[in-house]
């Protein structure tokens, strides 16, 4: 997240279009809740490769016969 970014955000119209989509669910954080850090309750011993957990195989190239 170190790279430079320009400030971009949805316009009110774009945001309303999303919110009007059937089935969209909007949730807001409890305003009394404090702290920006999320502490996970499930602990792992070492970093877990996300692709492995998601089962996303790297199949960019076809296997040769």
């Amino acid at each position: 997240m170190a790279k430079e970014r320009v400030i971009k955000q949805l316009t009110d119209e774009q945001r309303q279009e999303i919110l009007r989509t059937p089935g969209v669910v909007v949730r807001k954080r409890d305003p009394l809740k404090k702290g920006s850090e999320f502490v996970p309750a499930i602990h792992v011993d070492r970093p877990v490769p996300v692709r492995e957990l998601l089962g996303r195989d790297d199949d960019f190239e076809c296997e040769s016969e």
Binding site: P22, A41, H43, V48
Partner: protein, 171 residues
Amino acid sequence: MSSAFRLSDVYLDTAFVVNALFGHESGESASARGLAELVSSGGTAYFSEILRVEYFQALRRLATRGRVSTSTLDSFSLQRWNEAEVRRRWLRLGHKELDRFISHLPESVEIPLNRQIIEESVDLMATYALGSLDAVHLATALHYQIPFVWTCDDHFERVDDPFVEIIRDAD
């Protein structure tokens, strides 16, 4: 990162969320830091409902592949994964954990899958050689013009678009 920057609208793919939840024992993954930034900015997180489906698959793999800490393995008796009650208890915990994660976000918008997004994702599969689920995430973000996509999946390097940001842990 500039403190003047207000992070407003970010799409989170499942890889980002799974990395934030399970990436490190300490919870200090790059995605966890990104999440903290989003929370302190008061921004809105958007995600596809397919995140839930992928998340529970990741949760299952976490248990069956012995990726959790020994204490977690023991306290949930995950060695006895062949027992329905063990699986049920684990998945129930995972459900609560995902809900807790979502409720931690300043504002979240969960977007359903529809036929148009599926069609657009097929185009993206062709254009960027993405898997179908990766493509659904990207198609959802593009369809609704969400300015940033946060992922931890290097496969998105194939996407030639500056709004896709791959969040990496330091080596």
